[in-house]
Amino acid sequence: MSTDPIDADLTRSVDGRIAKERLYHWLLFGCAALTIFVTVSIVVTLAADAVTFFRQVNALGFLTGTTWESSRDTFGVLPLVSATLIVTIVSAMVAIPIGTAAAVYLSEYASDRMRSVLKPSLEILAGIPTVVYGYLALVYLTPWLRTAGLELNLFNLLSASIMVGIMIIPMVSSISEDAMSAVPDSLRQAGYGLGATKYEVSTGIVIPASISGIFSSYILALSRAIGETMIVVMAGGMQARMFDITNPFANLFNSGQTMTAAMVHAVTSDATGGTPEFYSMFAIGLTLFFITFAMNLLSNRIAMRYREEYQ
């Protein structure tokens, strides 16, 4: 602390004050460092128990196996991964167009009054607990889709995925909107100066200029969809099924078990499996942690690039 200002209060000892300043410095550093501790303990605790799991189950078989029957100690993670992918892809198909369109509207078209209503509403959408979304999917959405003529199982990936999609819309829209608002007005003015219409400015200038921010919002939202638990547990079912290529729609209409659902299954369901099933939870958790970690990192990198461009 070489830049400390001169102590004006001569009656108190300078040493003490410096000691106090140091104490606070380290205390605050401790708070920040705690986050490192959290990451490390996630990796360590998950890895330690995942090792126990892989002692009993062949790791290669785990990663390439196409059947997951925890009650019979058959652990192939691919059915879980395929269900997770289905949920992610379908929810992206719901959230990305709607979320992006909402972001464009909020950033380019909305009047101040409109914004002051729409933005908080979307924020509240983001705050609804996932257990509520799961309930909505199970109790209302699935019956509606059935009345609409789809031959859905009571537990099915389709309505779970649609709900996950609705849940992540605010994430896409708010981050994308931030990115679009960060595009300097001079670019827009230049566009108008060339005689472009508002539509042309929006699609031809603002979106390309903020594309890295928009992509980073997609990745964040998808990583949220991958990690979403309660919606798929409540509405998606617990039946681990391998993706059936011959009949793609059946995969959507039937129940399926995602990775997160399998983790909940390991601690709540009436499966009769013993030790390996419980430890499988840690192996899946670790896989999930690394997938989402990589995606978040990627999103950060992309967002970083765009931040450099305009600031």
Partner: protein, 570 residues
């Protein structure tokens, strides 16, 4: 494009009209997408509300009475405000919403004083805190000794005021290493060595009644805050005193009136304080501004209409709707009979868990944010470390909640040896989950404090910590609080981590300590969704979801209101 002449017309071509239509289409589809997302959820929520309240099970006479006494007058007033007096409109909806929000808050406070800390415990805590602060102040004024002495006093005085040296007990079996044969049991327990001031007060033979304790230790500080506020805005000492005394008197009236209404006097004090103070201040502010006074009639008309409706349907014998979400639901525990099932223990569990989350995550989160924004070096190797910290925090915010659940299980249950399914385990686990969110939002709030303020503080000879404490934090606090409330709103809805740390499906008695078994609202909702009976799925579950949503919406709405107010001020 007003000056477009012939040549530029050929330049643009004739697609001006086409692009206009295309642009309009694009704008409308963007708006449509935004509204679609919102409407979809709104429709879902209407269905939930319909299932929870079932308005159409009521007699048509009942519906007609309510429409005539409440809905029609409300609509008429709203139309009047909309046409003739816009300021009254905003006054109307605030003065209608405020008492409702305050009532919910009062409910939360009642739960806190019933289950988290007793009124006597709070009185003792308050007195001990005041005494400790007074001692510290006196020491700072009379002694100008070394900083070490000061530090010792700062630590020791509050410690003895609040904690003392508690007794402890040991029960440990000594075994031979490796073989594990039991040698002997070491069992001893030491009674309290030095009781804390707080403990002494609680164990006094004569204590004021619970309601009086609350009046003294809960209402008094709130009345003081109200008084200060009124004094500041009215710039009159007399008005301040009147405001404070009015608050206090209202609370006292609540205490006296409560037994007549059939509730405990403590509840009366809390309700009168928590509802009366903000409502009073709001009425005062409307009256001071002298604008939109007519809006204040709105809640009065609706309230009066509701009372009238209640009297009328009673007299005429109309049956109301078959509510799932009713007082009985809020006030009882889970039952195997759907009609008797309720959410009270889970509600208390959620409040207690949130207390743990707030106490543990808020200081650490704000501390980390202060470090990263104010202290962290940004160059060289340490700078890289800090950058790593920031990336790490951003990543932690994206880790699935179910993974945090596994972490909580491993860290608190298996490593630290706490019992699974107790309040602190659930609270700490969720605290880890929302810590990154709090840090990021607090960082943003701190970043928003203008640098000139810091420079001014340094220029006056303040140290870094003094600057942070007296300049940066007060200025950033509204932003920090907004972020924290939003994060707590997330915390109250988290389910998956609770499943992982073994929070039980059915808990019928609310926890009586932070080490008691608990259930939380989302956990209870999930266990209802697993039950077979249709009444659970459609009725009880809808009521539970609506309760959770109302609590969550109130938290988020207050955060948003706080932020808007703060943004307008700065």
């Amino acid at each position: 494009m007003t000056t477009a002449d012939e040549s530029s017309g050929s330049w643009f071509g004739a697609d001006g009209k086409v692009s206009q239509r295309r642009g309009l289409l694009f704008k409308l589809s963007c708006l449509g997408a935004t509204l679609l997302a919102l409407l979809l959820v709104l429709v879902f929520l209407l269905y939930v509300a319909n299932d929870a309240i079932q308005p159409f099970t009521a007699d048509s006479g009942w519906l007609a009475t309510v429409a005539a006494t409440v809905v029609l007058p409300a609509l008429a007033l709203a139309a009047y405000y909309y046409r003739d007096s816009e300021p009254s409109g905003s006054v109307a909806y605030i003065s209608f919403g405020l008492p409702i929000a305050a009532t919910l808050l009062a409910g939360g406070v009642v739960i806190v004083f019933r289950h988290v800390i007793s009124p006597h415990g709070w009185l003792a805590l308050a007195i001990a805190g005041v005494v400790a602060a007074a001692v510290l102040e006196a020491h700072a004024r009379t002694r100008t000794g070394s900083a070490l002495e000061r530090l010792a006093v700062v630590v020791v005085v509050p410690w003895f005021a609040l904690i003392g040296i508690p007794g402890f007990s040991v029960d440990y079996t000594v075994t031979t290493p490796f073989l594990g044969q039991e040698l002997f049991d070491l069992t001893m327990s030491v009674p309290t060595l030095i009781p804390s001031l707080r403990g002494l007060i609680v164990s006094l033979p004569i204590l004021p009644t619970a309601a009086l304790s609350l009046l003294a230790s809960f209402t008094l500080p709130i009345a003081a805050v109200a008084a200060m506020h009124v004094r500041r805005v009215r710039e009159s000492d007399r008005a301040g005193v009147i405001g404070g005394v009015a608050t206090f008197v209202a609370a006292g009236a609540g205490m006296v009136a409560a037994p007549i209404a059939g509730v405990a006097p403590e509840t009366g004090v809390i309700a009168a304080t928590v509802i009366g103070m903000p409502v009073g201040l709001y009425v005062e502010s409307v009256q001071r501004r002298g604008e939109g006074m007519a809006g204040l009639a709105f809640p009065v008309v609706i309230g009066g209409g509701a009372v009238l409706a209640a009297v009328l349907v009673n007299a005429l014998g109309f049956a109301g709707p078959e509510l799932w979400l009713d007082w009985q639901f809020l006030n009882s525990s889970h039952s195997t009979t759907p009609a008797d099932a309720g959410i009270y223990p889970a509600l208390v569990g959620s409040v207690m868990m949130l207390t743990v989350v707030a106490i543990s995550a808020f200081p650490i989160g704000v501390g980390a944010a202060v470090y990263l924004e104010e202290y962290a070096p940004n160059q060289g190797r340490p700078g890289q470390l800090v950058e790593f910290l920031e990336i790490n925090i951003a990543n932690l915010a994206g880790v699935p909640s179910v993974v945090y659940g596994v972490l909580g299980l491993a860290l608190f249950v298996r490593t630290a040896g706490l019992q699974s399914g107790i309040v602190v385990v659930g609270g700490f686990t969720i605290a880890l989950l929302i810590l990154p969110i709090i840090i990021v939002s607090a960082q943003e709030a701190i970043r928003g404090v203008p640098d000139s303020l810091r420079q001014a503080s340094y220029g006056m000879g303040a140290t870094k910590w003094q600057t942070v404490r007296s300049v940066v934090l007060p200025r950033a606090m509204p932003g920090i609080l907004t972020g924290t409330i939003l994060a707590l709103g997330r915390a109250i809805g988290e389910t998956a981590p609770l499943l992982m740390v073994g929070v039980a499906a059915v808990v019928r008695i609310p926890p009586n300590s932070f080490f008691g078994l608990f259930s939380a609202m989302p956990r209870q909702i999930y266990s209802w969704s697993r039950l077979i009976a249709t009444d659970f799925r459609y009725g009880v579950l809808a009521a539970g979801v609506l309760t959770l949503l109302i609590v969550m919406l109130m938290m988020n709405a207050s955060a948003i209101v706080l932020r808007n107010k703060y943004q307008r001020n700065s």
